[in-house]
């Protein structure tokens, strides 16, 4: 009898333990799910304010209704999304009404102006000033939010902790989130009454099928391996040559090589014609010893050596000890932006550590550059009067309808920001406006 009791107790105990553990697991899972949804709301909010800032900045430089209306509509949509994101955060502990009011006012303002026929009734001076103030305010809020975001990321702060503390009526232990939101709130006070963009270099304008039109004879595994070794500038051994799988747009080889000091590189090469699609070396460069300028010359020589013709550097940036360059085809005095590649080089040795050419090959074709119908001076008249033009070029860009059009490219500034504006050289349309990215301060130090 006693053994029976003991056994029964033991079963019960184990049962309880199992039940308890599964309860605990379930609770953990729910907690993580809640946490993820808070995190999503928060990071989306920061991003939306980023985009509000950039889009209003772009709107300030726009002169045509065809662009201004969508930009304002975008801001309007983003303010409502940001509003929505705020409502999903457990912010019971801190007043956040002014920020919400700011978003609300900006939403009203952009809605009012977006639905209006701006050709008949363009923005008034007062409205332009309001737009400027929206631009400046969103910058302040963006700064504050980003520093909260850095805190959240760096200290691994949990929104579920914040929410628990708030519901128990006490202050959360780490106050940086609260402090952060309080200072966001402070900045959001003075708005007088009043498709998001994609990353510039990751433009995927043309479909994969465009690669199929490239001609050439099939290359062998061995040739592909040799080609990858040529690209890798150190003495290397080929470790693997794999074929792409069935769903690839075009069949290609994926070659892996390893250098003598363990440097690894991989490269995708099209089977037909052996076109290099993408090439990347896993290398952390040591301290910079050569300049960005020198590295860009090496990158240029690298392209020439591998058969890329008529390419000129159009963009350069240094990230730690790596230089990243965009090279664009230039025919006479016209830049052909769809035919661009990105190259990166290590600034310690100057060796090229990457090439991305998929878009280049998709857009590569014989071109004849037409004569522009408008003169540079005529095109300039289409720009917003508050802009000062600093540089003018001729360029071919892909527009919204996926057509390549000849444009005048104006680099201009208006005292607060710099812009790249493409005006169609035949009909004067504003084809594209980009606010140029400035360096970002490092927060939280």
């Amino acid at each position: 009898m006693r053994t029976f009791l003991t056994a029964a107790m033991a079963v019960l105990l184990v049962g309880t333990a199992v039940w308890g553990y599964s309860q605990y697991r379930q609770k953990q899972e729910l907690l993580i799910e809640a946490e993820n949804s808070y995190q999503q709301a928060f990071h989306e909010l920061v991003y939306q304010v980023d985009v509000i800032h950039d889009r209003t900045g772009e709107a300030l430089a726009m002169n045509s209704k065809t662009n201004l209306t969508p930009a304002l509509t975008d801001v309007w949509r983003l303010t409502s999304e940001a509003h929505n994101a705020i409502s999903r955060l457990p912010l019971g502990f801190t007043p956040f009404s002014k920020t919400e009011e700011f978003l609300g006012n900006s939403g009203d303002f952009t809605h009012k102006t977006a639905v209006r026929d701006l050709d008949k009734e363009p923005l008034t001076d007062k409205e332009y000033t309001q737009l400027e103030s929206l631009y400046k305010q969103s910058a302040d809020i963006q700064n504050e939010l980003r520093s909260v975001q850095l805190d959240v990321l760096d200290k691994n702060l949990r929104w579920t902790d914040v929410s628990r503390a708030a519901s128990e009526g006490e202050e959360p232990r780490d106050n940086s989130v609260i402090d952060g939101f309080n200072s966001v709130e402070k900045k959001a006070t003075e708005f007088s009454e009043a498709e998001t963009f994609g990353p510039s270099q990751v433009q995927k304008s043309v479909s994969d099928d465009a690669l199929k039109k490239l001609s050439g004879t099939e290359i062998s595994k061995k040739e592909a391996a040799q080609r990858a070794k040529d690209y890798f500038q150190v003495d290397a051994e080929v470790t693997a040559v794999e074929s792409s799988l069935k769903g690839a747009a075009v069949p290609f080889y994926n070659v892996s090589v390893t250098g003598q000091n363990g440097e690894e590189a991989t490269m995708d090469i099209m089977k037909k014609g052996g076109y290099p699609l993408t090439f990347v070396v896993n290398k952390t460069p040591g301290k910079s010893r050569i300049s960005l300028n020198e590295a860009s010359e090496k990158a240029s020589a690298f392209l020439k050596k591998h058969g890329f013709k008529e390419m000129v550097p159009t963009e350069s940036a240094q990230y730690d000890h790596t230089g990243v360059f965009t090279f664009t085809r230039k025919i006479d005095d016209t830049l052909v932006y769809p035919e661009s590649v990105v190259v990166k080089a290590a600034l310690d040795t100057g060796e090229v550590t990457g090439l991305e050419a998929q878009n280049y090959w998709k857009n590569k074709k014989e071109r004849s550059i037409p004569e522009p119908a408008l003169s540079e001076e005529q095109a300039k008249k289409e720009l917003h009067p508050k802009l000062t033009v600093m540089e003018t070029k001729k360029a071919i860009v892909t527009n919204e309808e996926m057509k390549d059009v000849l444009c005048y490219e104006f680099l201009a500034e208006n005292g607060t920001a710099s812009y790249r504006i493409f005006i169609n050289a035949d009909n004067g349309n504003e084809e594209r406006i980009e606010k140029l990215q400035e360096a970002e301060g490092v927060y939280g130090s």
Partner: protein, 249 residues
């Protein structure tokens, strides 16, 4: 009396100018847009000293530095190319002075900057790819590290590229955070591994993907064939295998 003071000031300035002209603190490099570092700090300080540059001295050669330099070159009859080469640097050294220690200490303190005309310095800035903040990069690095830390470098770039391909795709949320935290999208998010501290490799991989590298051939999904539980994922057209992951459309 004031005239006398002025003369002394002019004399001192001349002495300083000569001294700095000889010092030639610039290194030999041709400084171009996108560069970072000490030469850029000096370039910005000297352009500010001469009144051509009005923004923060932050050590990153961005657009406002570029305009300032071009205006400077135009005024001084140099070829207007926006590059700080030998002639331009020599001219700058002749017409401005640069107190390196002072500028550097102000930058370290993150102090407002009165010496060079009231402009501010930032303690440190970095180049940021268009449309991405440093925090976006950090968040993506977290996701890449959580998802693919055991994978080869190419596989880490690939995971970052898939996130970006999703942001671009109509079927997915249109922000990085939206894509990463979408319920049941990434296992590292579902089990909390995303909050591990990412290493430099993950960050590098993210930067490569943002700068345009896509080793996946524009994939929207990937899965580990040994552990995948969803039969649906096997129906997707497969593009390529990198490490343990198969990437598909």
């Amino acid at each position: 009396m004031t005239k006398w003071k002025k003369q002394i000031a002019v004399f001192l300035t001349l002495v300083l100018l000569l001294a700095s002209g000889h010092a030639g603190a610039f290194t030999g490099q041709v400084i171009q847009r996108g560069a970072e570092g000490d030469d850029v700090i000096e370039l910005q300080s000297r352009l500010q000293y001469t009144g051509y540059y009005r923004d923060q001295i932050d050590g990153v050669f961005g657009w406002s530095t570029y305009w300032a330099l071009r205006n400077f070159q135009e005024s001084f009859g140099l070829p207007v190319d926006g590059l700080a080469g030998t002639d331009t640097k020599r001219k700058l050294e002749q017409v401005s002075k640069y107190d390196k220690a002072h500028v550097k200490s102000q930058i370290r303190k993150g102090k407002g900057f009165t010496y060079y005309g009231g402009a501010e310095t930032s303690d440190r800035s970095v180049n940021s790819p268009k449309g991405f903040s440093q925090n976006d990069i950090q968040l993506m690095a977290n996701a890449v590290y959580g998802e693919a830390r055991g994978e080869p470098y190419e596989g880490q770039v690939a995971v970052a590229a898939v996130i970006l391909n999703r942001v671009q795709s109509e079927q997915f949320p249109n922000s990085v955070a939206g894509v990463i935290f979408e319920p049941r999208a990434f296992t590292a998010v579902a089990d909390g591994q995303i909050w591990l501290t990412p290493n430099e490799t993950a960050k590098k991989a993210v930067l490569d993907a943002i700068n345009g590298w896509d080793p996946t051939g524009e994939a929207l999904y990937y899965f580990n064939p040994d552990t995948a539980t969803s039969p649906w994922i096997w129906t997707r057209p497969q593009i390529k295998q990198i490490g343990k992951h198969i990437y598909c459309e």
